[in-house]
Symmetry: C2
Subunit: 397 residues, 2 copies
Amino acid sequence: MAASLPRKGLFDIPDGVIYLDGNSLGPLPKGAAERALNVIGEEWGGELIRAWNTADWMTLPKRVGDRIAGLIGAPEDSVATGDTLSIKVYQALAAALEMRPDRKVILSDSGNFPTDLYMAQGLIRTIGKDHELRTPAPEDVASAICEDVAVVMLTHVDYRSGRMHDMGHITRLAHEAGAVMIWDLAHSAGAVPVEIAACRAEFAVGCTYKYLNGGPGAPAFIYARPDIVERIEPALAGWLGHAAPFAMEPDYRPAMSTERLRVGTPPIIQLSVLDAALDAWDGVAMVDVRAASIGLCDTFISEVELRCPQLTLASPRDSGLRGSQVSFAFEHGYAAMQALIDRGVIGDFRAPDIMRFGFTPLYIGDDDVRTAAAIIAEVIGGELWRDEKYQVVSAVT
Amino acid sequence: MAASLPRKGLFDIPDGVIYLDGNSLGPLPKGAAERALNVIGEEWGGELIRAWNTADWMTLPKRVGDRIAGLIGAPEDSVATGDTLSIKVYQALAAALEMRPDRKVILSDSGNFPTDLYMAQGLIRTIGKDHELRTPAPEDVASAICEDVAVVMLTHVDYRSGRMHDMGHITRLAHEAGAVMIWDLAHSAGAVPVEIAACRAEFAVGCTYKYLNGGPGAPAFIYARPDIVERIEPALAGWLGHAAPFAMEPDYRPAMSTERLRVGTPPIIQLSVLDAALDAWDGVAMVDVRAASIGLCDTFISEVELRCPQLTLASPRDSGLRGSQVSFAFEHGYAAMQALIDRGVIGDFRAPDIMRFGFTPLYIGDDDVRTAAAIIAEVIGGELWRDEKYQVVSAVT
């Protein structure tokens, strides 16, 4: 039975806050603290080292991976969890380059999140060969796919604008050109329906602290297409990706299936909190989330545009081309966002002038969107952002 | 003022348990659960995305790194935290190989923990050059250091036997041969005094869930010698190692100092728990820990040898050559360890026949050692390990 949305009762959101930043850090699910206390007090405290068996810590990364798989259209045993998204990008990219040893080009786009590009640059330097990272504008990616390209690595939904690539189309083009496809689902998992297995991409990676509400620094995930995974010789050949970690063999021998993409000892506390957070998705159909998200975003755009001519829409107007966020460009966006946060409307700012608002139908409803738009109109129309206190730039924005 | 040892009151250890496995997973420090509730409920729940600033999450990895630095003889700003030990091994090794581009040999030893060797194998495969991993027996490492060697990578204290390399001597030999030195301090940090800066090793790595009691899957750390760190071009070039992460620049530009060895978004919940765990070290001098540890280990060896001729000491008898653990070889060690655990003496087993016991003076005293030895004598002398229920092998041993 489909759950109706929103399900605000599942989250602890402070009174007076309209939280439109779940695309950066999801809010606290109600079961998270209790689960943390359980893993810390009962499992770690009570069972000590035995908890690896008695609390089944060893299989927790796989169990959490299987739950994420269900949200991105992937089969069981195809998603490994752990590490950070940056590390998972490196793993996928290193494996992809090995699959196309005669090709030298990594094709991404200039809108990709920087860490994906940085990790590619680091990998290229480390392998010390004549590989090249190409980053055309997002709208030029399709035409840049050619037979030089070893791997196409894209973030599905752009972190700044919310612009969404056509996953099926780009993957087909990549495969027609003989390239491997990697999708970064950081702004997709839990935000829009993804059918990663159906699109036949070889790899996907993502993080879990955004729309999946896993908490600050929650572990990342990596998907590898089941028919190729056993040909991967992992670059990051950690002991928990070994076929028999406790045999303590001198030579690396990869585990079956996606288990080989595990690396070191998993962050059990964070994984447990993430596992609890995923409960909020039980019974939720991504198609319903998507429908609600489009409704919220469309309402937000029309309400804000109606009231704030000073703001320029920086996201696609066509909901079919947009993820689950809406961005507006505003010269004084940094100060304006501080003024909004001060009034309980929490979005965020991305340089140079982007005010970002994430829409998360699990806990945001139509009333929230209308209230937020009214507060934005007050701040922008009344130039409340001019207050001195909103000009101080913090470390993280 | 030096704290007297043990400080059992700082830990929640179940009644009836003598915990001799803190070399695998340290027990629960009393402040950990409260800190977890605070970071989850107040910071994440109450501050949401703002906590990166208001709760100072962004600098938490550095603050925790500085506390670890104090325990391994390293200066401030020289230790980065995050990821897993496997990842930190890869970072150090990739950087070390780049420092010696004309050399092709990674020298380790056959007693090293497997993941260190596996990560080296994965790196060698990934860079696709004619590098070689050499693993002589631990006692032959010194004589195997020669001018072919790019990097010497050793675990200071052997995970099975507790045998300890002479850090100063081996580092000098490595440097005389023109090699870079990497120490894995997994079984050293919090176990034995380490003077990493004084020994001039270029890198050290370690984990924090053993003697530092950071909890299951607690983040790892990496030290880089301050005078070389700014020449490192990180292989794992993640955005949080960038000089200006939030400028979202298209090209990687490493941060100052050891910050460049950060990779992705840090695991804030686990880091907070680790930070709380490190409180147990306030006012503790490693020299006192070492003296107590030697006393405990020596007593344990003599008590067990006196009562259990069936067990063969598998650790150095000379305390100067031994870390903070004692291993005994016993053909039926797996079953015997299960029988001990059943009686509240928790150590662990490492294939093929090693019974390991860690000695952690923060929460283990002389009375514990004598009681444990008496219970071991009952189990071994009475052959209580023959019970069928102790023969079932679990996933993690």
